[in-house]
Symmetry: C2
Subunit: 239 residues, 2 copies
Amino acid sequence: MQQPDSLQYIGVRDDIAARITAGEFKPGERLPSERQLQIGGGVARGTVREALFQLEAEGIIYRKDRSGWYVSPPPVVYDPTRWEGFMSYVEAQGRRPETETLSKVEIACDGVLAQIFSRPVGAPMYWIHRRRSIDGRAVLIESIIVDAARAPGLIEHDLNGSLTSVLKSVYGIGVARNKVDMRPCALTRGEAEALRVKSGLPGLSLVRTCYDAQGNVVEFDREYWRHDALTVSVDIRVR
Amino acid sequence: MQQPDSLQYIGVRDDIAARITAGEFKPGERLPSERQLQIGGGVARGTVREALFQLEAEGIIYRKDRSGWYVSPPPVVYDPTRWEGFMSYVEAQGRRPETETLSKVEIACDGVLAQIFSRPVGAPMYWIHRRRSIDGRAVLIESIIVDAARAPGLIEHDLNGSLTSVLKSVYGIGVARNKVDMRPCALTRGEAEALRVKSGLPGLSLVRTCYDAQGNVVEFDREYWRHDALTVSVDIRVR
């Protein structure tokens, strides 16, 4: 019996998902072409595409530039109640973290930042724009603001690693409080472009505010993550 | 100077966003029609639509059935390190929580649940399907599994409130550990339909496993949230 078109793609989706689960296509591996996936199934090319879009939405497969569809690697686990930074928790999970500084410049503090940092409008701030990857795949894009008065010359340093480490070792600034706000979002415009994903793909927006022991804001960080790259995990017990 | 079409929608987006920020359109209020938004701007209807889709992706506006576009209400804040349930933290934020049981049935434990609950395949389990709303807007859909042997007759009770309270007051089952895993996702198929959103809209998938003091799984809950309904917030200090 022929299923209605609107449901047929679910059958194709389930079939491809089952082949991934069974290990026929492995994490990081390229899927056969849409044409090859079509053969034997007796389904329209459009139906195969719909099934692939569904699997992408679920984070099971992803697109790489123009070279086709790949099986998503397993997500890394991020626990916002722990102090470990990206470079450290990604490596601890047997994966290869990488940080690429896209730009680092001095800017003038605007009204929004003035409130966050309790600094006057116009005060010098550093704006650091970075892309981070896991096993060679770009997973997040971030904009970090640091008060230039607290860390003069910060942007002269190599920032392709842990910024927290540089702030600690060079400037003696330690973080005593970490406030993390996360919201699911759609990756659009600049973020989508920098992560090389189709605009509109789901993502996670993460805003981190780091304070020192005196309650001053040390670092204000806005991150945009690909949706298939991380699981946020919190494990709480009664004390 | 005429901007290229691919960028013109960003100007329209910024204009509508500014009018929302300025309070011309308030949270929960209906936006003027696409036609009305178009007039004066001298832009194509398609450009206005593109701008509206962008604002929807950002969680700033949302669609209600066929009645048009509305300004999103502010998200509720959910802190996974705290013990409070939905009914309680939503109300504490001055909002009106509501829980609607869509179905509650006894099912046979399958292989996956057998592992989670350490129970034999085929053992009776309760499967509870609920929709939760804030101020009358559906924000999450959830599937909860409870071991029927631990809470016999659970589904005879009114479950349109806090399930944790029923488990505690009727069965004396307390939760001692809460493991929460969150992933950004796309809302598709059944979830999208139950939340009355367009398939493919970003969402948050949340899996909660609750254990008693002996380490037994009490409740296994899979939730799908609309992306504009919540902010996950964690605030950690050095001890």
